[in-house]
């Protein structure tokens, strides 16, 4: 054994242990600053964590692209829907007069909102693109109330980290971090292209998260829960998507 190879061995050892402890420190910092997605375990965890962490650092306050009215897709596309449950059909038959959005969890004033109550908040609209993970896309005008207005009304507690949102469709729920929940373009949408939001596009109430793919924009929203821990929801992966094999974070 020459000195050279011994030196090489020592250098490699030092470099390797520095690398491992560096990764450890990075992992702890990432946890602390909320850069680790709930579906970080498993084979594809490292890639998901890199994507989520880098996009959170890069895009925390950036705005989704907005388009001109002439760019709105005509006719508007409505994706396939699973058969709607009876509870939905009953509400639909009554013109959605009894549709309620309930909010609980880490909020000071849990409550429930009717559609007219939501519409009494400041109305905002955005002309943004819906991008499906399959590859197709369309542009529409989305009319609704920014989610942060509603969250302000129930007074979110400071240690809140995620908003979990549920559809009237069984097993259709998702969640987003507070960066997205408080983002000015994240809407509870009740109108589209100047009119009511059609059922095919998620009416009467849909979550709109324009910086993420279509499947994060859950239709027929009835319930929100503010939480600091996603482990207690479903299989603890953050939403129904990872349970079906899809990534929780869909900003790609």
């Amino acid at each position: 054994m020459s000195n050279f190879s011994r030196r090489k061995l020592i250098t490699t050892g030092v470099a390797a242990s520095a690398g491992v402890s560096g990764l450890g420190v990075a992992a702890r910092l990432a946890q602390k600053y909320g850069l680790v997605p709930p579906d970080h375990a498993g084979m594809y965890g490292p890639g998901e964590t890199l994507t989520y962490a880098s996009q959170r650092l890069l895009t925390r306050h950036s705005l989704a692209r907005e388009f001109s009215p002439s760019q709105i897709s005509k006719p508007p596309l409505a994706n396939e829907l699973a058969p709607l449950p009876d509870a939905f059909k009953r509400l639909q038959a009554a013109g959605f007069a009894d549709w309620r959005l309930s909010i609980d969890g880490l909020v000071d004033r849990p409550g429930s909102f009717s559609l007219p109550q939501l519409k009494s908040y400041p109305t905002r609209s955005q002309i943004t693109m819906v991008q499906c993970e399959e590859g197709w896309s369309y542009i529409a005008e989305w009319i609704g109330v920014p989610l942060h207005h509603v969250l302000d009304a129930v007074s979110v507690q400071p240690h809140a980290r995620y908003v979990v949102y549920f559809s009237i469709q069984p097993d259709w729920w998702d969640s987003m971090d507070m960066a997205d929940a408080l983002h000015p373009q994240t809407f509870l949408v009740y109108g589209m292209n100047g009119g009511e939001l059609p059922v095919g596009n998620g009416g009467p109430l849909r979550m709109r998260v324009p910086r993420q793919l279509g499947y994060k924009n859950v239709k027929f929203i009835t319930h929100l829960t503010v939480t600091d821990n996603l482990k207690t929801f479903g299989k603890g992966l953050g939403s129904a998507s990872p349970e079906g094999g899809y990534a929780w974070y869909a900003g790609i």
């Binding site: 890639g47 006719p75 994706n79 399959e134 542009i139 910086r211 079906g244």
Partner: protein, 260 residues
């Protein structure tokens, strides 16, 4: 790393006399350890990206130009394949199983590994001089005459001489440079241009390409170009001698145990 592959061995060192079958080993590897490791990591990533990319395309085998495109709009072209979504009219009477979940996870993970490996490779070939010495054509090599000779040699499927086996020929250099500095950056760019979060931060990535659907279509064609490169690359390895070339890229050794 900085010195390992930069010294080209004297020509005689790699030329065993035909009378002797004693293997001649050289101290200098044909490809440095870094080139070999990054080559095979990139290979694995590329195959993963290709497989998962094909799976994702199957869910919507239609391509568009501009910002938007869906089943209600006229496509630029359609692939004549069945789809994994009932939404897409393909003319086939069946729908393939949905494979997008794991395909997307794998696509982005492989992309991360490929990009990080590529960065390591770029930095190291800049520092080691591999780029300057072995990839960039020298002035003498970049004449029309040299270019046409190289093309003719390739068209005749001429096998490289022993001396040539120690360096890259002109066409080889140009195609490697094209892949490293044009196709890979383009495929990364067009990929990022499809990310709604990334383009919210850097909108020019998508507007310069003419829209999100244009980016997707370009991503498809750049991927096709990379597949074409892969096929030609593999063909050239076979023409030049599969065993010796594979050995050179796996072990680094370029000695010739077998006589040709």
């Amino acid at each position: 790393m900085a010195t390992s592959e930069s010294v080209r061995p004297p020509l005689g060192a790699s030329l065993p006399s035909s009378a002797s079958s004693v293997p001649v080993t050289t101290v200098t590897p044909r490809h440095s350890a870094l080139v070999r490791v990054t080559h095979w990591i990139t290979t694995l990533c590329f195959l993963a990206l290709l497989l998962s990319g094909v799976e994702i395309v199957i869910s919507h085998p239609r391509f568009y130009w501009g910002e938007t495109g869906n089943v209600l709009t006229t496509p630029l072209f359609k692939l004549p394949i069945p789809s994994s979504r009932a939404l897409v009219p393909t003319g086939y009477g069946y729908v393939l199983p949905d494979q997008n979940g794991w395909s997307r996870y794998l696509h982005f993970q492989a992309a991360w590994i490929a990009v990080l490996t590529g960065l390591l490779y770029i930095i190291s070939i800049l520092l080691s001089g591999h780029l300057r010495k072995n990839l960039l054509p020298d002035k003498a090599g970049l004449s029309w005459r040299a270019f046409s000779t190289s093309i003719v040699d390739h068209l005749r499927f001429k096998r490289p001489t022993e001396a040539e086996a120690w360096s890259y020929n002109l066409l080889q250099r140009l195609s490697y440079l094209f892949v490293i500095f044009v196709l890979f950056p383009l495929v990364i760019w067009t990929g990022l241009a499809m990310s709604p979060a990334f383009v919210s931060s850097v909108p020019l990535t998508v507007t310069l390409l003419g829209g999100q659907q244009s980016a997707r279509t370009l991503h498809f064609f750049v991927s096709l170009a990379l597949v074409l490169f892969l096929l030609v690359h593999i063909m050239m390895v076979f023409l030049a001698g599969f065993r010796s070339r594979m050995r050179a890229m796996i072990t680094g050794r370029a000695d010739h145990k077998e006589r040709t």
